[in-house]
């Protein structure tokens, strides 16, 4: 088993499926899937609309270990209905987060002096466009439940978001991801709220051409989010790199992890408002204007720069750390 795990590590995160990512993010051989394909908990709603189903409803949930921590893992499968959140999918995601803070409570009850490095952690690999249209209402309500569960994790369990799949992380899941403590992306990851097509519809093709993927990535891609401070770590496209990123975050104290968050307190909201005011001031036509503003005079070179060079040279916005 561990030799399989080794081969997974060097694999492209982008190319891998949700299950491979989940297995590879945990310590070797420690991943146990919960409500996996064997349970055949596929969507009861999709068949009514004539749509294909998947035994795991497009999300792999389970538990593994990260060093001394129990690691509660959710990994969305972008290839199944765009990783969208339906009733089953949503319930699995909500419950894995809930299980993590309940596990914390149990561990704390058993070991009142529970050291920080033994606390459970949650890692979610987001690859989703948000709500699944075919069961939209149930999907929507699950989003609200997730935000609620995140709040229950606060002060107890670190929640880490990972974005490196083809679909990116959009729609309601965009703000769910924003509400995690730390976000790790690869340059191929995308994070946003509104998908490019809808923006084009709202603003017109001249203002935003959804087929211009370079533009889409400049606005929502990993490098931009890193400069903005909207993702904390930018890593190469391998499962190992994401796992190392995860390790970096989980090596921090809870207080340090808490500081990684972009939102979630009055001070953080105030800081965001300051950044926003500055952006309004420079009225960027393109993200490159933001990069220049952040202190990168040769902004146009950043896009094609190799990741290590990028990380070495890039200047981030002031709030970004």
């Amino acid at each position: 088993m561990s030799s399989d795990w080794e081969t997974l590590q060097n694999r492209s995160f982008l190319e891998s499926n949700a299950r491979a990512r989940a297995i590879g993010l945990a310590d070797p051989g420690t991943f146990t899937e919960l409500a996996g394909p064997r349970c055949r908990l596929s969507s009861p709603h999709l068949p009514l609309l004539g749509e294909a189903v998947e035994f795991d409803d497009g999300i792999v949930t389970g538990v593994g270990r990260h060093g001394s921590r129990p690691l509660f893992i959710a990994s969305q499968e972008g290839r199944f209905v765009g990783g969208s959140v339906g009733e089953v999918h949503g319930a699995k995601l909500v419950n894995i987060v809930r299980m993590a803070h309940q596990a914390y409570d149990r561990m704390l009850a058993e070991t009142p002096e529970l050291p920080e490095e033994r606390r459970p952690a949650v890692v979610i690999s987001f690859e989703t466009g948000g709500v699944r249209l075919h069961e939209a209402n149930a999907g929507l309500l699950a989003h609200a439940e997730l935000m609620d569960q995140f709040q229950d994790c606060k002060g107890k369990v670190p929640v880490i978001g990972i974005i490196g799949g083809r679909v990116g992380c959009f729609g309601g899941m965009g703000f769910v991801a924003a509400a995690t403590d730390a976000i790790i992306m690869s340059p191929f990851g995308r994070l946003g709220l509104t998908g490019p097509e809808v923006i084009e519809e709202e603003m017109g093709k001249d203002e935003f051409d959804a087929s211009d993927r370079a533009l889409v990535y400049r606005v929502t891609g990993g490098k931009h989010k890193y400069i903005m401070g909207d993702c904390n770590l930018l890593v190469e496209d391998t499962i190992a790199a994401f796992r190392q990123g995860l390790g970096k975050v989980l090596a921090m104290s809870y207080a340090e992890i808490d500081r990684l968050r972009r939102i979630g307190s009055l001070d953080k909201v105030k800081a965001q408002l300051r950044t926003l005011a500055a952006l309004v001031e420079i009225a960027p036509r393109d993200s490159r204007d933001v990069w220049t503003f952040a202190g990168n005079p040769a902004a146009e070179t950043l896009v094609d720069m190799k990741l290590d060079d990028f990380l070495r040279t890039v200047k981030r916005l002031e709030n970004a750390s």
Binding site: T32, L34, A35, L41, H45, L49, G50, E51, V63, R65, E87, V88, A91, V94, N95, R98, M99, A103, R106, E110, V131, L133, A136, N137, A138, G139, L140, L141, H143, A144, E145, M147, D148, Q149, Q151, G172, G174, F175, V176, A178, A179, L193, T194, V198, I199, E202, M203, F208, V219, H224, K225, M228, D230, R262, G264, L266, Q272, L276, L279, V280
Partner: protein, 292 residues
């Protein structure tokens, strides 16, 4: 009066004690810039004699700095502005006993979040997320939060402004209230299914259909209110109910989680519980391996 769509400010007046609403003021927060997030109306009022925070939409404004933010859309400034109001409510009552925290009343009439290039560049997801996180924190700190849909509660807009409340009320469909992710016509277009067939299907399965009735059956709305004048009383009553449940330590019956349970009771979301139970049972078998 037929409905309250686009009339968030009027709805505030109809719900709170007469002439008690002070806009822009929440605890130590004093907002004076009229151009700052004009689509979000925040302030303090008294409701049945008790102080409360009001957060509402104003659909009659346009945010001059953000061309895609109009008609009640929650943009970047609006989202953060709403979050400020929540945090200042928490701050103001920090030293009060849990049972005495002020209520937050969310008056909902929004078609969604700002969908623009600058929005995505700056991170619209953070602004709407920030507000929801603030609400969740306030709710868990003991503030009763009651939302009432008076007009539109569309998709991400409803998640942002409404679904983090302890209880969600809605004027019934008779008042043209709209609660949905996407209208059925759009779903029909995208799924290439006949609208008649979808309407028929929706009768037995509320998970994709549009309208407050379906959300009621899914447990997404606690109560449908069938008259505009009754809104005030029902909000007051729900605040009291929420307070009582909190005092009794029954938070599990409130907020998104409570609505999850309600969805099962009302028969609208029956799989959710089974999925969670399966996971819990499977984990119980291996938990010692991970938690010890």
């Amino acid at each position: 009066m037929e409905n309250l769509i686009g009339q968030g400010r009027l709805a505030i007046d109809m719900i709170v004690d007469p002439d008690s609403f002070r806009e822009g003021v929440v605890g130590t927060l004093q907002l004076t810039d009229e151009e700052f997030g004009p689509g979000a109306v925040v302030g303090t009022a008294s409701l049945d004699g008790a102080i409360c925070t009001i957060i509402a939409n104003d659909a009659m404004t346009i945010n001059q700095k953000f061309p895609v933010v109009y008609a009640g859309i929650i943009g970047l400034e609006e989202g953060y502005k709403m979050a400020l109001a929540v945090y200042h409510s928490i701050e103001a009552d920090r030293d009060r006993a849990p049972g005495e925290k002020r209520a937050l009343v969310l008056i909902v009439d929004t078609p969604g979040n700002g969908a623009g290039k600058l929005e995505e560049m700056a991170g619209m997801n953070k602004a709407t997320g920030a507000y929801q996180m603030a609400l969740a924190e306030a709710r868990k700190a003991g503030h009763p939060i009651v939302a009432i849909v008076v007009g539109r509660a569309i998709s991400g807009g409803f998640l942002c402004h409404g679904l983090q409340a302890d209880h969600v009320l809605s004027l019934s469909a008779a008042f043209n209230t709209m609660i949905h992710v996407m209208p059925l016509t759009s779903i029909a277009r995208i799924t290439r299914l006949d609208i008649e067939w979808l309407q028929e299907l929706a009768k037995s399965n509320p998970v994709f259909a549009a309208g407050p009735d379906f959300f009621y059956r899914l447990g997404g709305v606690e109560e449908l209110v069938d008259s505009i004048p009754a809104m005030r009383d029902r909000v007051i009553a729900h605040i009291a109910e929420v307070r009582a449940l909190k005092a009794a330590g029954r938070e599990d019956q409130l907020g998104p989680w409570g609505r999850g349970t309600l969805g099962e009771v009302r028969g609208g979301r029956t799989v959710r519980g089974r999925v969670m139970q399966t996971m819990n049972e499977e984990f119980a078998k291996v938990a010692d391996r991970y938690l010890k």
